[in-house]
């Protein structure tokens, strides 16, 4: 989970967000029979479209639904699924569930931070990877587990990390 105090006071994004995606989001919202209680569904759609939920997208949703920006942000900051930072091309998720943790996933995470020069929830400078720590993925028998996008890597050893990362470079 992103802690509230780690959320940057980020500046509005200018000119980077494609208009077509806003159009698509708008069309989606217009297609809903009612927007009452649909905020989370709309945010899901928005995150799928943009890859993340930057301030301008959240404000767009707020304006469109006629609700305060604070209300939208309240929901976005509540659910760990929603992310307010752009994600890299690939998302590396390190399982910090109990089984993985006792088998050293914390060390794997530290190693990845070092290799990628990022903290958790950050994106690498080349935009290729986002590093995330997640809870149990249900593959405890393979602990420690990391996932890159949808692919699962089991019984990961520190010395294998370079090889795994290279296949995405």
């Amino acid at each position: 989970m992103t802690k509230p105090h780690e959320i940057d006071v980020y500046e509005p994004v200018e000119g980077e967000l494609p208009k077509e995606k806003f159009d698509e989001l708008e069309a989606f919202i217009n297609s809903l029979e009612s927007t009452d209680g649909a905020l989370i569904e709309i945010l899901h759609k928005a995150q799928n479209l943009f890859g993340y939920l930057p301030r301008d997208v959240q404000l767009f949703v707020a304006r469109k639904l006629g609700i305060p920006g604070a209300e939208v942000f309240g929901v976005v900051s509540f659910y760990s699924y929603f992310t307010t930072e752009p994600r890299g091309k690939h998302t590396i998720s390190v399982c910090m569930g109990t089984a993985c943790f006792v088998r050293g996933s914390d060390k794997i995470l530290e190693k990845l931070k070092e290799k990628l020069q990022v903290q958790v929830n950050e994106i690498t400078e080349d935009g290729l990877f986002t590093l995330k720590d997640i809870r149990c993925v249900g593959a405890c028998g393979l602990a420690p587990v990391i996932m890159i996008d949808d692919k699962v890597y089991g019984r990961v050893k520190e010395e294998e990390l370079d090889g795994i990362l290279d296949t995405y470079r």
Binding site: M1, P4, I7, L59, P68, A70, E71, F73
Partner: protein, 594 residues
Amino acid sequence: MAGSQELHEDKPMINIKINNKDLKVPEGTTILEAAHKVGAKIPTLCHLDLHDIKMVNKTASCRVCMVELVDSRNNRNKLVPSCVTTVSEGMEALTSSLNAIAARRMSVELLLSNHPNECFTCAKNLECELQALAQELKIRHIRWEGERMDYPRDLSSDAIVKDADKCIYCRRCETMCNEVQTCGILSGIGRGFEAFVGPAFNIPMVESSCTYCGQCVQVCPTAALTEVYHVDKVWEALNDPDKHVIVQTAPAVRVALGDMFGMEPGTIVTGKMVTALKNMGFNAVFDTNFGADLTIMEEASELIYRVKENKTLPILTSCCPAWVKFIEHQFPELLEVPSTCKSPHIMFGTIAKTYYAEKNGIDPDNIVVVSIMPCIAKKAEAKRPELTKDTHNNVDIVVTTRELGYMIKEAGIEFESLNDSEFDNPLGEHTGAAVIFGTTGGVIEAAIRTAHEWMTGKELEQIEFNQLRGMDGLREAEVQVGDKVLKIGIASGLGNARILLESIRDGKSKYDAIEIMACPGGCIAGGGQPYHHGNFEIIKKRQEAIYREDKNRKIRKSHENPEILRLYKEYLGEPFGETAHRLLHTHFEERERI
């Protein structure tokens, strides 16, 4: 409680037992309400019932009002929050059983385990509801120690300080901001232990569309939301021999300041307040009411001009800076509608640094104007760039009624035993019309008193316009002025203002003039007034006092204030004329909504 009970009147009656006493209450009554009927007081914290302004905070997040429900069938009693649990047939509740008390204490201990231990230096020391509760429950030891929240204080704005570490997540502010004021600035951010209340994207308050009405401050039980403290600046100015320090007091201050000294709510303390300010060393003690009379001269002229020339109607009053900021953020397309008049204390400041300075041969740069206001938004208003141009500020320092109370105590002045004094002249001269600026309905009544006489050329037989008075958040009335009927709308509370603004925007407004005040009830319930702690009866008493004070004045119409007439004759020329425009009018600008 009375108001909530009224809602249940036609409902079927339910038999329950509280602390082994049988009673019948209407369906829908909460255990908390029912318990009061049998004299059992259950402590509460997050719960806040301000039914007069249609606000009830029902988050049940603090768990302080826990009671024990008897379940003899299963022999397993359970604990429930009494503020949201409604009665059901045969229910048996124990409000002070060992289990209930233990649960209550635990809740408070848990809140305290993550609360800064700095009561001594806290802005809310001795006015904090959490502190009072810890005392009431005699918490002597906190069983848990652990991580504590550690957020930076938000000192970005000129009006409100936000200290998330002191937030207990009761969400009263959020209810006030969203449901009553409809500003939508504050929302719960994050989840679990780290959660706190703040603006969208956790931006600093100054970047949000906050109007600084301060109603969140008025209902915050702790010091998570407080006003920016400007007392030290006043002491500094008073101790600077080169400065000529003058003070003005808003109309609503004199009917509330007494609360700070344990006096009966609604006590009029005008004379004592003036004496206290003189004892504190101000070079002159003046009255914002002078500025209010001046405002009426301009606003009534503008109203008549707009009515006669078929210009934009309705005209909206512009005395309330929170309301002005609200329209700038929320309805920028309607910025042509409000009167262009500066607010009374800003008009006063302008006149102090021009007319008064010239008359007394004082360099305006050496004049410090201090405003004592019931309001937090006035602090930010005084810093608006267009009101601080021409090398000197219109108003230099704004302190609230509360801050004045603290200053009087700090100065060791025994307020209760002070004799009465009169305001200094010329800027202390004022009428009853100015006094009623402090309550909802007052500004428009004052404007009508003057506009009526000007439009008809006849003296008013009946000075009081009772149809404009009241406490409801949204009112309308008609006033016969000669052969014309003026339709008046009155809103207090920004949610009510929004309703009127939407009707104007949609071309459905039927009003000629509208008075808007941001705080429900008007300035008497301002964000800078002594805390009412959820008791709205205090606000009603202040309103009664305002009208009493009006009755006490010999002159009750702004255009009969002799010093105002002299000001126009010697300095300003015609009301709404060229000089008046340059000095007393301002402009508004579109602002971002976030």
